[in-house]
Each structure stands twice: as structure tokens, then as C-alpha cells.
């Protein structure tokens, strides 16, 4: 409540040099620090041990099927948006051995179980990715037991999430394929973070969203922000809303997708889609996996491994009668309907957070916002009021 001093301060100013303290503090507290780095001219989340490994002095240019990182000495630290990879890989590894065992006499003997996840502090998580983590929390059964649409808990994910610390970086320079504003997920993080940062000239407006976050701030050389600094931070993210690269009209979208299953645009997109699966791999919410068993010739140990899978593959919907979605048309339509439509039925939210990755990293630049807009040559009958609630308690 305004004017009441709770004795808890939740906003500070951290100087540029303070970022180094932050990295050191996190490491001292036993965190493996992961931050955006430059790898082969692409912004990539990687483990860092010192602050100078964080991507800095670069900005990104992107479009459908195109990405370039440009050196820009005038650029501040977080002057780029999301790269190809999202934090998804850190909680839901692309390849994970679940169990390995062998037979001794008449018994199974356990050789290995899935590895223990590291204690992660992810620095520079974008608001859309923060929202994507909350979407996946529900998929992998993390958090509030009473939450609706919650799946069975995945052990690795839950452990990794429980011990993780999320430090958000609000966006002031949205990319050309970003549309978080349409999805209500960015460009400013509203919840789900331990700390959030908005970059200004000489440092960051720092906010805490949890006790763990506050505990980190206690160890940092922070000061009170001036009112004008707070206002500038607000202004920068407000302006970012106006510079979104793309927009998606979510009004009635779920019904539209249900009604337009025979729309001619599906045939058109099927000619362009290669079913290469890049969109599902880079999507921060796609959660599908496949489990295979293998055995070792020498030791006789059998192991079970889980890998990222995609609904674009032939085997994804393979049954004894063949692949249920045998055409590119069926597969693209399934992907888009899941992201924007049927996800609501399954998890009570949109499956798309508007990060734009599927547009940028589709080699042929198929654009989910364009495809959705293309279905609007016909007005949906029913209206879907829930537009962009990632949290539970949604209105449908």
C-alpha cells in the first residue's frame, strides 16, 4: 500500500561495476551462473565465471529466417534480445539419461539414475522467457500443488527449478520478431523473478521479487534510486512496447483456429514448411520428448534416455497404421494450433509467449503472427476473452 513502510525495500540502483559484484556473490553462494554470451556470433546462454564473459557491446538484427549480431561499441550490456536458445535447456535438458541397469541372476541391478542438476542462477532472463518458464512449470508439475492444469512432477525439472535463481533483464530494445506485448509477457517482467534489472546509462534499476533475491541484494553495493531513475526505467520499457517488431491479435484466436481447420492458408504454408523441427526446438515452451532404450554390448547395461522430440517428425504420431499426421500441412497446423489454441484446454494458458524465436530461427522464415493473421479473413463466431494470462485463474 502506498505510503506504508513495510520495512522492506524492493527497488535499488546497481552501478555497472556492481554487476561484477553480483556475479561474484552468486558464485560465492554456490550458484552456477549462466548468462547470455556470444558464441559464434549468436547470443547463447552459457556458464560464466566472470562478468566480462557476458555479451556486451553488441546488438542484434533479426527477421524471418535471419539473425545477425552487430558490433556496436556504444551498446550497453543487455542491448540485444533473445538468441536461439532459451533457458529451457537448463531445466529440461535436450538429452538426459533417466536410468541404466543390468540383469544379475534374476534381478535388475541399478547402475545409474538421472544426474543431479546444478544449482543455477540465470542472469539476464528476458520477460518472455520468464513467462515461458512459468508455462513449463505447469507442464512439468513444478510449484503450487493446487494449481489447475498441473501435470505429474518431473524429477529433474523440479529439482533444477527449486534451487534456481532467476534474474530478469527487462527489454528496452525489442527485436524485429518480438511480440511479447501482444502476449502480455513483456517487455517488463511482472512476476516470477527473484531479481529484475532495467538497464539505464550507468547501471541498473534492481527489483527483488523473492526473499532469495533480497538476500543477494544485501551483499551488493546498491543505493537508493532517484525518482528520475525510476521514471526513466519505466519510460524505457513503456517505449519498448511501442517498438514491438510484431503483433498478434489474440482476440478469439482459439476459436478462430478451431473453425479454420480447412483454411487454404494451411496448404500454402505446407508448401514452405520443411518439417525440419527448428521452431519446436527453439520454442521455450515446447516440452515434447521421446524415450529410447539402448544397451551396451560389452557390459550388458541397458540405458533409457530422454531426448527432445518434435511434432514435426514422422515418428511423433506414428502408430501401427502409419503416421497420423503424415503431411506437412497437418504437422504445421498441429504445431500452431497447439501453441495458440489447444494449449488453453490443456494448461489453461497460451503456449506462446511471443519470444519470436520460431520466426527468426525457421530457416525459411515462416511467421506465426502472419499465419494467424491470415486466418482472420473470416470472423470467429465465439469470442475468447482470455488473451494472455500465463498465470492460473484465467478467464476463458
Amino acid at each position: 500500500m502506498a505510503g506504508v513502510d513495510h520495512g522492506i525495500r524492493d527497488v535499488w540502483f546497481l552501478s555497472m561495476q556492481g554487476l561484477e559484484h553480483m556475479v561474484r556473490t552468486l558464485r560465492a553462494k554456490g550458484y552456477t551462473v549462466v548468462a547470455p554470451t556470444v558464441r559464434d556470433r549468436v547470443i547463447t546462454f552459457d556458464e560464466i565465471v566472470s562478468v566480462d564473459q557476458i555479451a556486451c557491446g553488441v546488438r542484434d538484427e533479426m527477421g524471418p529466417g535471419r539473425y545477425r549480431l552487430i558490433d556496436d561499441p556504444l551498446s550497453r550490456v543487455f542491448n540485444y534480445v533473445v538468441g536461439q536458445d532459451s533457458p529451457k535447456r537448463l531445466f529440461f535438458p535436450p538429452k538426459l539419461e533417466l536410468v541404466a541397469l543390468h540383469v544379475e541372476g534374476k534381478r535388475f541391478v541399478l547402475d545409474r539414475t538421472s544426474p543431479k542438476p546444478p544449482k543455477l542462477a540465470i542472469l539476464g532472463v528476458r520477460p518472455c522467457d520468464l513467462a515461458a518458464i512459468r508455462v513449463q512449470d505447469r507442464v512439468f508439475g513444478y510449484g503450487d500443488e493446487s494449481a489447475g492444469h498441473r501435470c505429474e512432477a518431473d524429477t529433474y525439472y523440479n529439482q533444477a527449478r527449486k534451487q534456481s535463481l532467476l534474474i530478469a533483464a527487462n527489454c528496452t530494445q525489442p527485436g524485429a520478431t518480438c511480440f511479447c506485448d501482444s502476449m502480455g509477457t513483456g517487455p517488463r517482467a511482472k512476476e516470477g523473478y527473484d531479481l529484475s534489472m532495467t538497464e539505464l546509462g550507468g547501471g541498473f534499476i534492481l527489483r527483488a521479487g523473492s526473499d532469495d533475491g533480497r538476500a543477494i541484494v544485501n551483499e551488493l553495493p546498491v543505493r537508493d534510486p532517484s525518482p528520475s531513475e525510476i521514471e526513466l526505467g519505466q519510460l524505457k520499457t513503456d517505449q519498448a512496447c511501442e517498438r514491438m517488431g510484431r503483433q498478434l491479435d489474440t482476440d478469439g484466436l482459439k476459436e478462430l483456429l478451431d473453425e479454420q481447420i480447412d483454411h487454404p492458408s494451411w496448404d500454402e504454408v505446407a508448401k514452405r514448411c520443411m518439417a525440419c523441427s527448428n521452431c519446436t526446438m527453439v520454442c521455450p515452451t515446447c516440452f515434447c520428448s521421446t524415450v529410447t532404450d539402448s544397451d551396451d554390448l560389452a557390459t550388458g547395461t541397458a540405458s533409457r534416455t530422454r531426448r527432445w522430440e518434435s511434432c514435426f517428425t514422422h515418428q511423433f504420431s506414428y502408430t501401427t497404421a502409419g503416421s497420423v499426421r503424415s503431411s506437412q500441412r497437418a504437422r504445421y497446423r498441429h504445431w500452431m494450433r497447439h501453441k495458440l489454441g489447444t494449449w488453453w484446454d490443456q494448461f489453461g494458458s497460451s503456449g506462446c509467449v511471443g519470444c519470436g524465436r520460431c520466426i527468426t530461427w525457421c530457416p525459411v522464415g515462416i511467421d506465426i503472427t502472419k499465419q494467424a493473421a491470415g486466418l482472420r479473413d473470416h470472423e470467429p463466431v465465439k469470442r475468447h476473452a482470455g488473451t494472455h494470462h500465463i498465470e492460473r485463474g484465467v478467464t476463458i
Binding site: R68, A275, C276, N278, L297, A298, W308, Q315, P363
Partner: protein, 272 residues
């Protein structure tokens, strides 16, 4: 008694490795398995593998690995005997599964090629075409790649011995590339990567070295070659001739790379 051991016939499954028209790269992949090679030697009786050992045990064999394409009259005959000698026959590598690089002759005149390359071409006995093993005899499994991937070979042999289905995916190289988290060379550098139409199996070897995939594992399941071609010839400025040549590098004679390369050839000729 001092240690004279008499070799005893084991009841282990017998393995045979054959070479047809090829560079030996796939057989080398088997030899390069090092530690795992010993595991294989422990699990099967290596009964016929001329590149590795002189001793030859007589057929029949349980598992036959066949490297190379059929490109000579002698091979055309021999491949039938191989089939008869093996219970399971597995074609390994681009030559055996597509006809290989040497299938470039299928679009040309062999005699002209021979005259160009050999001082005395009259000693050469060769067929007009180089074709995959499956064009001649029934085969039980195919392993793609130029050369094959050692892990995939091990997987097929283990699966066969355990009586389970081998895990050999038919989706794109992009899936493996993205699982590894490699920056996409096509999107971030404009390199003409064939990953989106090429079958996985190599573990995204080339993108892992920051370069474009050449398509050495051949076409994935239902590739959309035209869509990738549109990107490469449009935005990336490749010509129809470039497209034809890219598709014909390793697996050119395999459908649907073949008809697609023919189409780009037609477009190339139209330009003239």
C-alpha cells in the same frame, strides 16, 4: 601341458564385412571404434573382414555389413552371393545406400570419363551406372552417411544381437543440431546448409564445426527440397547449378534428391 590352444568354433553370431565400390571410409569407421571394436569382437565372431584380418571362416554368416555400390559386372554377380551368405544384410554408407559419389557417372558417359582418367581404359571393366545395393538384392537395414556414424553402427549391431529395434532416426539434422545447441549457420551466417532436408545420424558434425551440412546422410523422411531451394536460390543467391551440384554430392542418385537435382538441371538449362 604347455599352452597350445586349438581354435574352437564358437556359437557366437558370425559377422562378415564386404567391400564393393567405395573408399573404405565406412570400414575404417568400424575399425576406428577402438574400445567398442573389442566389444564387438567379444560379442560376435568376426568371420570375414578382409580389411582387418586374414583369417576367413566359411559362410553362412549371421550379420553382413556391405560397404560400397555396385559398379562393375563382377560386383553385380557377387552381390547375389553375399545375399545368399548372410541372414541379415545391412548396407552401410552413402555408396551402398545411394550409389555414392561415383553415381555421378549415371548422368554422364562412362566411356568418356574413363578415357579422361585412365591411360589404358581398355583394361577397365565397369558398368554404365553405379547403384545402391538395394537396387540388386533385398537388404534388411540401411545405415546412411559418408562415412557412417560409428555410434549408429554400434547401435544397429547391439539392437540386432539383443533382438530389439534399432534407434535410427529419420528426421532432420536440424534436430540434432538444435539439441546440441549449435548456433544455426544458415540463419546466423547465411551458409547454404542442407541440414533441414538431410537425415540425422551424424550428430550435426558440420554445423558443430561452424559450417554448412553437405547432406552426406541423404534425404530425411519427406524432405521439402523445393522450400530450402527457394531460400538458397533466393535470399542466399545460389544458382540452379549450385543446387543441382549440392544435391548430387554424396547421395545424388537417391530419391528424392535425384528428381530434385534433375529439376534444377532442367531449370539451369532453361536459363541458357
Amino acid at each position: 601341458m604347455s599352452g597350445i590352444t586349438i581354435p574352437v568354433q564358437t556359437d557366437k553370431p558370425k559377422l562378415a564385412v564386404y567391400k564393393f565400390s567405395s573408399c573404405d571410409g565406412c570400414q575404417l569407421t568400424l575399425l576406428n571404434l577402438e574400445d567398442h571394436l573389442l566389444d564387438i569382437a567379444g560379442a560376435v565372431e568376426i568371420s570375414f573382414f578382409l580389411e582387418a584380418r586374414r583369417r576367413v571362416l566359411p559362410p553362412p554368416y549371421d550379420i553382413g555389413l556391405i560397404e560400397g555400390s555396385v559398379s562393375t559386372p563382377e560386383e553385380e554377380k557377387r552381390v547375389h552371393q553375399v545375399r545368399r551368405d548372410c541372414k541379415y544384410l545391412i548396407a552401410i554408407g552413402a555408396c551402398a545406400t545411394s550409389g555414392g559419389i561415383q553415381s555421378l557417372r549415371n548422368w554422364a558417359n562412362v566411356k568418356e570419363y574413363a578415357d579422361l582418367v585412365y591411360p589404358s581404359p581398355e583394361y577397365l571393366k565397369t558398368l554404365e551406372t553405379s547403384t545402391p545395393v538395394a537396387a540388386h538384392v533385398f537388404i534388411d537395414f540401411e545405415l546412411r552417411g559418408c562415412p557412417i556414424n560409428g555410434g549408429q553402427l554400434l547401435e544397429v549391431i547391439s539392437a540386432l544381437l539383443a533382438g530389439r529395434k534399432p534407434n535410427i532416426p529419420s528426421y532432420s539434422v536440424c534436430m540434432e543440431c538444435k539439441r546440441r545447441g549449435l548456433p544455426c549457420v544458415l540463419v546466423s551466417k547465411g551458409e547454404p546448409c542442407l541440414g533441414p532436408i538431410t537425415q540425422a545420424g551424424c550428430g550435426a558434425l558440420c554445423p558443430g564445426c561452424s559450417r554448412a551440412c553437405y547432406g552426406c546422410f541423404g534425404p530425411m523422411d519427406q524432405p521439402n527440397i523445393g522450400a530450402l531451394g527457394g531460400k538458397l536460390t533466393g535470399e542466399l543467391g545460389k544458382t540452379n547449378r549450385d543446387m543441382k551440384r549440392m544435391l548430387r554430392s554424396f547421395n545424388g542418385y537417391l530419391d528424392p534428391f535425384k528428381p530434385a537435382s534433375d529439376e534444377y538441371e532442367r531449370l539451369e538449362q532453361q536459363e541458357k
